[in-house]
Amino acid sequence: MQPFHKIKSIATPLDKVNVDTDQIVPKQFLKLIQRTGFGQYLFYDWRFEKGTPRKDFVLNDPAYKNSKILLARDNFGCGSSREHAVWALDDYGFKVIISTSFADIFYNNCFKNGILPIQVSDETLQKLFSTKSEIEVDLEGQSIIVDNVPILFHIEPYRKKILLEGLDDIAVTLLHEDKIVIYERSHKI
């Protein structure tokens, strides 16, 4: 996994609550057997109508072209565990997602793919939704800088480390091989 660096970009405001992973990547695109190439299907049914971009959907607004930060509303990523949703966001170019809350499986999947989900207060999210300027996200310093004002955010220290160092968590777990073996010896079911 690639280490996470500072991100500076305009933020795309997706003004909907309870966005489920079926919307992030609809089921008809889950049949690919690789991890790449899902960006073109991101928010497909909201983004396209009969293959043509819908003018009323925010991702089709040229102002947000090349945006790396997605602003979302409460309970983002609920529903299916499909990691394809994260692969699609990543492949499209989003590296940071900011919301007031995330669904658990989705949140976990983000860290496995080098994407930083940031949980903020209602007030902060409102501020971010209303700014037109670029936002800077500094994971090392745990801050979102908007209009030169830093807003601090919380992240669990180990998750921060995984992103900053781009760790392979299977390799990390395998460092405990001896303990897994001991556990297996005494645990039978």
Binding site: V17, D20, K31, R35, R73, S80, A103, T173, H187
Partner: protein
């Protein structure tokens, strides 16, 4: 110290604790075709193997056709994914219940059916409805593909400890055939919301839960994820032990295990939960969802709500309800029983077991499906199908005009050819009414098998308490 059932299972599976997280041992790993190919590729890429092939079981369910299994699969991408699972299971030495196996079925139906699901175990699967297995007192988590790879390679999962949430359901339902487990869980989600359980493991408790059969308990636990929970749990009891006895993969020294389970697998009196919610079952009515998430649900005797009334002052929820009504093409204030439907789907990991089909068949027997409706029954597994056919359920459904299909996830998520056309409205026994879930532009109403069957006959929703279901 007093512990909850969740804490007991969690604590007994910790291999290592570090950085505020626990490395948990996984007792059973269930694998299916959609969320696994990239995980197997990852293993190959890094020269890793599957650590415990004896604890890993695979089947194909999400995109298998439910039509004649002797015919080739027409959809090339589905076929590719199914072949990839066959190839991966062969290469890594994993037991696979393939499309022609008498044990094939929806992964959450076959786990319990084969005795792979056991009380007190940890179970994971690359599918959010893994919470189903909690009905047996197993701690069961849905995981993403990266974690599937992690479990294949290490037989462990790294997690932060979830919070505990007790949901007490007490009281007797007035008409348990009409007010089903599905209505109970939809009532709960309607009240606590789709993120009400986020970050928690729910334990369902109370006399109403004790009285439910194992299949009904599975329906309850199955939809824990629709409230955002990491898992759902029900303490095992004699019904649980009886259900699993003699199943193919249940342990040979079964009685010894049962003695141990009886002793340990319950929440101690005095144990504390982080969160609590209580519901009386007495006044629950049959439920019908009207919107685009499972919390957007109301009584069959109710009306489609006005967005401001639904939002209760939360402008985002209000906007969400407005969009939902637009998508669902429904008018606020309209009676639920006036909603006419085009399709009926009885199936999915929520409601496709023998008992679900038996209850639905009671409504259907001797009647005809409305001329405006296309209705299908998709049994959850080949074994459910076989058992249903042995007692003549297939004939009851077919005589009424239902399609009787082969087992799989089918129209719950429409990855196979069973999909809604844009604008079609479906009474569905599945678990998600998200936009486009059953087909782009399709409209889903979540209901119980009995309600779905009644909607098929009448062409619209009816108060199933008025039907003779005994």
């Amino acid at each position: 110290m007093s512990k909850t059932l969740f804490e007991k299972i969690w604590d007994s599976h910790i291999v290592v604790e570090e950085n505020g997280r626990s490395l948990l041992y996984v007792d059973r790993h269930l694998v299916h075709e959609v969320t696994s190919p990239q995980a197997f590729d990852g293993l190959r890429l890094n020269g890793r193997t599957v650590r415990r092939t004896d604890l890993t079981f695979a089947t194909m369910d999400h995109n298998v056709p439910t039509s004649d299994r002797s015919l080739p699969i027409i959809d090339q991408t589905s076929s590719t994914q199914i072949k990839a699972l066959e190839r991966n299971c062969k290469e890594f030495g994993i037991t696979l219940f393939d499309i022609h196996s008498p044990n094939q079925g929806i992964v959450h139906v076959i786990g319990p059916e084969l005795g792979i699901t056991l009380p007190g175990t940890t179970i994971v699967c690359g599918d959010s409805h893994t919470s189903t297995h909690g009905a047996f007192g197993a701690l069961a988590f849905g995981i993403g593909t990266s974690d599937v790879e992690h479990v294949l390679a290490t037989q462990c999962i790294m997690m932060e400890k979830p919070k505990t949430f007790e949901i007490n359901i007490n009281g007797k339902r007035k008409n348990p055939h009409a007010v089903t487990a599905k209505d109970i869980i939809l009532s709960i989600i309607r009240k606590i919301g789709t993120s009400g359980g986020t970050g928690t493991v729910i334990e369902y408790r109370g006399e109403t839960i004790s009285e439910l059969t194992m299949e009904q308990r599975m329906t309850i636990c199955n939809m824990s994820i629709e409230a955002g929970a990491r898992a759902g749990l029900i303490a095992p009891d004699e019904k649980t032990y009886q259900y699993l006895q003699g199943r193919k993969y249940a342990p040979k020294n079964y009685d010894e295990y049962v003695s141990l389970w009886r002793e340990t697998l319950k929440t101690d009196s005095g144990a504390r939960f982080d969160k609590s919610f209580t519901l009386s079952a007495e006044n629950i009515a049959p439920q019908v969802s009207w919107g685009t998430n499972p919390a957007m649900t109301t009584d069959v005797t109710g009306v489609v709500p006005f967005p401001d009334e639904y939002g209760k002052g939360n402008s985002e929820e209000e906007k969400g309800a407005e969009k939902a009504l637009q998508y669902m093409n429904l008018k606020a204030g309209m009676a639920i029983t006036d909603i006419t439907i085009d399709r009926v789907f009885i199936g999915s990991c929520t409601n496709s077991r023998l008992e679900d089909l038996m209850e639905a068949a009671k409504v259907v027997k001797g009647k005809k499906v409305s001329s405006r409706v296309r209705a299908m029954v998709v049994p959850g597994s080949q074994l459910v199908k076989k058992n249903a056919e042995e007692i003549g359920l297939d004939k009851i459904f077919k005589d009424a005009g239902f399609e009787w299909r082969e087992s799989g996830c089918s129209m719950c998520l429409g990855m196979n050819p069973d999909i809604l056309a844009s604008g079609e409205r479906c009474a569905s026994t599945s678990n998600r009414n998200f936009e486009g879930r059953q087909g782009t532009g399709g409209r889903t109403h979540l209901v119980s098998p009995v309600m779905a069957a009644a909607a098929a006959i009448h062409g619209h929703f009816v108060d199933v308490r008025e039907l003779d279901l005994n």
